[in-house]
Subunit: 341 residues, 2 copies
DNA sequence: TATGTAAATGCAATCGTTTTCAAACGGAAA
DNA sequence: TTTCCGTTTGAAAACGATTGCATTTACATA
């Protein structure tokens, strides 16, 4: 392959000046005589010179790249987060290196290691469902690697975090169902040990308690993935119970839609016989019939805020104390839960 | 920030050997005495040494990174493509740098330029709807930059391409509607000048011709984005025509779903009064009611094949001739078009 | 003791930049 | 002519790694 880059050396040789002069001229350094400068800049343009990024990174010990560690790209929430990240990063001249682990802990670990070998200046991370040990992250924190967790976080690591108010969101969603007249409300959630699910469940319980409703443990179900098929599966379980729910809080939109689909198949009317609310505000929920009530998870905002935080940490020499930013979610009520009074 | 990387220099100093020896020992070079080697490797582990990626890139003039240029990440098709890309790249020790242009030509151009300054070894690109001039890509080809186009391509650039058989897919979709008994079929497409839309339209026309059906130009509509709202909008137009269609080929699933939604609202039965088929096989189509017939666009395969091709080009010194790989799509028929006989 | 040889190690160049420090230059003043 | 000073320029070190070549060892052989 003959794709040789034009370097400042080539320019220097061509013009019979030193590489230092070329470097300075291109940086518009006032030390260089106007005449020389112009000649150099002109030739650089002609030769289509572009500074070599790798050399710059090495010299300046900065890659102007941030790493993003996520479980999967094929996910509307992460796609939104990515957009937020890119908008901020791009504005400040940073690139984003995305590493998805496909929910594999091993791959998450390997990706992180690889990114940190001088490939990126900092890391944004959302841990996978599979991740149970966090030593590697702790080590990064010790090494002072700029690191911001978002969405799925862990209490065991002291670093910057950007999360939503999962507990309160769970409370809101449940309270909404109660206000619509639901008396027997089920919780259909993703993996039990994922902390966001625990929080949402706490919120759910708080709401039941506040309104003096029963807490039937049979009505609390957990899956492993949180997708559509699981929604079908778990709701089947739900509908076979003696005490049938008249409201469901699903911790993902896909679970919620799965529940509705099954409910409709079982001849139940949504929302009159059973009201359903999901979580995340995916596009599909708006289009589905009946349109799905949900909690807006603010992916774009999370991405933006996490990135701002990370870049601040990268660009500052001072010791910043760790911060956890909690983003307010909002309730979006649609046909799947709105009962006519 | 005190995050100093451990380098081979540190190790060398600590052990009182030269950096060359350290470098060799870590590469398991047999020239180094077993004893020394072990000591070095042990210390490297202890000090948590990781080779600096940037230095390696510079030295070996290879970044082991490929760039991905796409209009948007928030898109199920691209998400699938990305998964395909990552699976292949990861296996061969490559990372992926994603740059999304948000459908802006200017940003596409800037991103490409930036990636190519020694940041990546090659480029995968899908042009935006906005892109009308391709000179920059031509220049990359001239510079022998390894470059593979996928999905949205252009004939004007001679480089590797991976596409689906849009024409044939358009034909299949239309033929399917005809076989279901449709006589008056409409075409609802995205941007008119995007070559994939032109191809799909050609396929549509071929099918009509083959079966001797009318080609009413009023029944051929083009939008600008291809999303759900546009589906609503265009179908409104469609339903106000004198000659109402009894079948619709939409070039995206979202358009198709928009059409169905409107049809239902207008009291039409799908598929009996009007059969609809989309394009892409997004998850939503399977869940929507009625489930949407569609063409599987093979995003994952496209990603895999494009990446394999790119890596081959990167890793070989020989002159490879340019190749266009056409991937076969498949028809997925579901309730939105399947009429009971 | 001198020499040859193989094994082990080190030096230095290199990748493409930036930047510090020193040097060259030209002209003005002494 | 020297000295000095401001303006330009260049040499070289550095970033962290690899690698061709030279050198140093240790030991066997002449």
């Amino acid at each position: 392959m003959n794709r040789e880059q034009v370097t400042i050396k080539h320019i220097a040789k061509e013009l019979g000046v030193s590489i230092s002069t070329v470097s300075r001229a291109l940086a518009n350094n006032p030390l260089v005589k106007q005449e020389t400068k112009e000649a150099i800049q002109k030739l650089a343009k002609e030769m289509n010179y572009h500074p070599n990024f790798t050399a710059l990174s090495l010299r300046q010990r900065k890659t102007r790249t941030i790493g993003l560690l996520i479980p999967q790209v094929v996910h509307e929430f992460f796609a939104q987060v990515i957009r937020g990240i890119e908008d901020v990063a791009y504005n400040q001249g940073y690139n984003v290196l995305i590493s998805s682990s496909n929910e594999s802990f091993e791959r998450e670990f390997k990706n992180a290691e690889e990114l940190l070998n001088g490939r990126v200046d900092g890391l944004l991370a959302c841990i996978t469902k599979e991740t149970k040990t966090f030593e590697h992250f702790q080590e990064y924190v010790n090494r002072q690697v700029p690191l911001v967790f978002f969405d799925c976080v862990t209490d065991t690591i002291d670093t910057d975090k950007v999360v939503i108010d999962d507990l309160h969101a769970g409370f809101m969603a449940t309270e909404h169902l109660i206000q619509q007249g639901c008396k027997t409300i089920a919780f259909v959630g993703g993996p039990k040990d994922l902390n966001i699910n625990q929080e949402r469940l706490l919120g759910f319980r708080d709401a039941l308690k506040k309104y003096g409703l029963d807490q039937n443990p049979e009505l609390i179900l957990h899956g492993t993935s949180g997708n559509f098929d699981e929604g079908l599966e778990l709701s089947r379980e739900l509908f076979s119970l003696e005490q049938k729910p008249d409201g469901v809080f699903a911790t993902t939109d896909m679970l919620g839609i799965g529940v509705i689909k099954n409910a409709k198949a079982a001849g139940l009317r949504v929302p009159d016989d059973i009201a359903v609310i999901g979580f995340s505000n995916w596009e599909i929920g708006e289009i589905f019939e009946p349109a799905l009530s949900t909690i807006d998870q603010k992916g774009y905002d999370i991405g933006k805020i996490a990135t701002s935080r990370l870049l601040k940490r990268i660009d500052t020499d001072q010791e910043l104390s760790m911060m956890t930013e909690v983003i307010k979610t909002t309730l979006i009520s649609r046909a799947s839960s709105l009962r006519k009074k």
